[in-house]
């Protein structure tokens, strides 16, 4: 077990409403205002949650004119609850909180654009306390950000990662166009033997072909005083999710290879570290 003073907390995006996991915090979605979540709550359900763990709420939809009334009302209600913070994508959320002077901590969760410390510091100066770091940068870049910011960082560390969010109903439209039946809650697209989950709800989201598994890197993040990591349990059953959290709780430098293999086995070896150790190409020569 990691014996340093600093504790990197684990935030779980749960796939069930029974919140009995051994994580440190939950990230929960709200109907009509969140996207890319395995399950969604309404406000009344959020109010009734009884847990000692930190609760973050995700309001990470792109907000249109028709969403603003519900958004403002929801933010006012959330201020009254003991919420640790709100994940948001749309800058409109920040403006409403500022305009109404609501006392709620914020997490900027633009999942692909939190890629440098100046950007994160800009938002920190604008009262955004936390930043969810892009899943397309590597450990070295994350460490550099940590050295240069006061914002608290949240690193996606395990689970399917969203790669694409469309306002279009891409599955529904395809089925209608070709007169096909499909009652699946989730679909997949396949290319060159790789299979990618695709979910068409309020928006259409495409996920990575494999689960991100960064348990080995988690030990490095802890050493660098990263405040939070994020586990997404989409398409992982409850029992396996609990086993994975247990591994994260107990992992240290000595057992990280063993635990890494254990998680790979739990996830049927459908795993990848994606960009944790590589850079994407900026410009094709």
């Amino acid at each position: 077990m990691y014996t340093g003073d600093f504790m990197t907390k684990i935030i779980l995006i749960p796939s069930t409403k029974q919140l009995d996991y051994d994580c440190d915090a939950y990230l929960l979605g709200i109907e009509n205002l969140s996207v890319n979540m395995p399950i969604y709550y309404n406000l009344e359900e959020i109010k009734k949650i009884k847990t000692q763990k930190e609760i973050f709420i995700s309001l990470n939809k792109n907000m249109h004119a028709s969403d603003l009334k519900q958004l403002e009302q929801t933010l006012k209600e959330l201020e009254k609850l003991n919420i640790k913070g709100i994940f948001f994508y749309d800058i409109g959320v920040l403006n409403i909180i500022k305009r109404l002077n609501l006392k709620i901590d914020l997490v900027l969760a633009e999942e692909h654009s939190q890629t440098n410390y100046e950007t994160i510091n800009y938002w920190y100066q604008n009262k955004v306390k936390y930043a969810q770091i892009s899943s397309e940068i590597n450990i070295k870049e994350i460490k550099k950000i940590k050295q240069n910011t006061k914002a608290q960082l949240i690193i996606p560390i395990l689970g399917y990662q969203p790669m694409f969010v469309s306002k279009r109903h891409l599955i529904k439209n395809y089925l209608e166009h070709f007169n096909q039946q499909n009652k699946s809650q989730i679909n997949y697209i396949k290319k060159e033997q790789k299979i990618y989950p695709i979910i068409d709800e309020k928006v259409t989201t495409v996920y990575t072909n494999a689960y991100l598994n960064g348990i080995k890197e988690y030990t490095e993040l802890k050493e660098n005083n990263i405040e939070y990591v994020l586990i997404n349990s989409l398409l992982i059953n409850k029992e396996d999710t609990k086993k994975i959290i247990d591994k994260f709780k107990k992992v240290d430098k000595k057992n990280k290879e063993e635990y890494n293999n254990d998680i790979n086995n739990i996830l049927n070896n459908n795993i990848d570290t994606f960009f944790l150790h590589k850079e994407t190409i900026y410009k094709v020569k």
């Binding site: 792109n62 907000m63 249109h64 004119a65 028709s66 603003l68 749309d90 800058i91 409109g92 920040l94 403006n95 305009r99 633009e110 999942e111 692909h112 654009s113 890629t115 440098n116 410390y117 100046e118 950007t119 800009y122 397309e136 870049e141 950000i145 969203p162 790669m163 694409f164 969010v165 469309s166 306002k167 279009r168 109903h169 891409l170 599955i171 529904k172 439209n173 395809y174 209608e176 166009h177 070709f178 096909q180 499909n182 699946s184 679909n187 997949y188 697209i189 396949k190 290319k191 299979i195 990575t208 072909n209 994606f274 960009f275 590589k278 994407t280 190409i281 900026y282 410009k283 094709v284």
Partner: protein
């Protein structure tokens, strides 16, 4: 009300000049650094300077895209680059990364336009950016008429909206398919357009769902020609044509058509009539179906291409006019044409000249039947004067007019 701006794309210096000559009030272009569309030539600082001087002489503007998301290692270079852009009198930069936006606003006098990569869709976000010193917001392609009206009615800021061109299938900035499929960074200029690929679609048991064509994210293009009066009357500041990767012919043609339509509307709002020939020219030029997309709130199955569609390259553009001497048009060939072809020569703010090619000559004044070589110099007898930068295209077929 100030006349609406027509903003055209420029992939390089030549297309910058063409866009301005064909009626754009302003152009947007990338420098060789920090710009999406990293794989189009773009323009180095010297070329940008030349382009800006060219534009300013015409009382027009040049906006420079500095719209990648930054990584740590680039941070130390960006301020110098912004200072250089300021020095050559760029009219505005287009950016989405707050690291760039903040530097530009606090350490230079460059006006900043918020890129569509920021996916701004509502008045609250618009208000935030206005207070931070953003001069103009390029709205997300997903904004509806209702969204635009709500922003205009509540926030005093310039708005720029797309009127024509390709659409991202996702919210801009929320797609990294390219990163995961090809390791090319979509938000840093490397988008490999995975959304145009075909896929097998599977159900939850991973059994294939087979339509008659494969699944794709691919969408039809955007065309707002029919909605131009509505867009103008909304109070939008600038109408933007997509396409820094597009050809010179595309830029000239689309800019020319929208210039004509906008001017015709302003000249006689009461009796303005939609010109179906314009629609036909745009359709021929893009070679893809175009629709209004999200503006009218419709984004159903009719908006998509689902198949391994046969996307043949556009052959309408035949030649660019280099000069006119001794009743002879001197052209540079861009696509195959021959004796007997019916063609049109068009240029900025002038009626198209229609002709049937009855004779033509090569550079050595030898009679030829066919112009088959790219960039071949061709001479065609013509008793009407044409000018450098005019373009020759296949005649728009009357029978195919909508």
């Amino acid at each position: 009300m100030k006349k609406i701006e027509l903003l055209a794309p420029a992939g390089d210096l030549e297309r910058l000049k063409i866009a301005l000559l064909y009626g754009a009030d302003a152009v947007y272009i990338g420098g060789t650094l920090f710009s999406l569309r990293a794989n189009t030539p773009n323009a180095n600082l010297e070329e940008l300077k030349e382009g800006i001087e060219f534009a300013h002489k015409l009382n027009k503007k040049v906006y420079v895209a500095v719209n990648i998301v930054m990584h740590n290692k680039e941070l130390k270079h960006i301020l110098n680059y912004l200072k250089e852009l300021e020095k050559i009198k760029v009219d505005a930069i287009i950016a989405s990364d707050p690291a760039i936006i903040n530097m530009a606003i606090t350490q230079t006098k460059l006006p900043v336009h918020l890129s569509t990569q920021a996916s701004t869709t509502n008045k609250e976000a618009a208000q935030f950016w206005k207070e931070k010193g953003i001069e103009r917001i390029v709205l997300a392609r997903e904004t509806s008429k209702e969204d635009i009206e709500d922003i205009i009615n509540n926030v005093n800021i310039e708005l720029e909206c797309f009127i024509h061109g390709a659409m991202c299938a996702s919210y801009s900035g929320r797609c990294v398919l390219s990163n995961y499929f090809t390791n090319r960074d979509a938000n840093r200029g490397g988008c490999s357009q995975i959304c145009r690929w075909d896929f097998q679609l599977l159900d939850e048991n991973k059994k294939e769902i087979k339509g008659t064509k494969p699944f794709s994210f691919c969408t039809k293009d955007l065309s707002m020609l029919k909605y131009l009066p509505e867009m103008i009357e909304l109070g939008i500041t600038s109408l933007k044509i997509e396409g820094r990767m597009r050809s010179l012919y595309y830029v000239a043609t689309v800019t020319d058509i929208y210039r004509r339509a906008i001017d015709e509307y302003y000249e006689n709002k009461k009796n303005y009539q939609y010109n179906k020939k314009y629609e036909q020219i745009l359709s021929n030029c893009a070679n893809r179906d175009s629709i209004p997309q999200f503006f009218n709130g419709k984004y159903d199955s009719t908006c998509s291409y689902y198949n391994g569609r046969n996307e043949s390259s556009n052959q309408d553009f035949l030649a660019i006019i280099l000069d006119y001497q001794n009743n002879m048009a001197i052209l540079e060939q861009r696509n195959y044409f021959k004796i007997g072809d019916e063609v049109e020569i068009f240029g900025p703010k002038k009626d198209a000249i229609t002709l049937k090619i009855t004779e033509m000559y090569d550079e050595q004044d030898q009679k030829i039947e066919v112009a088959r070589h790219p960039k071949q110099i061709i001479k065609i007898p013509l008793n009407k004067k044409v000018e450098k930068w005019d373009l020759m295209r296949k005649k728009v077929d009357k029978e195919s007019e909508v």
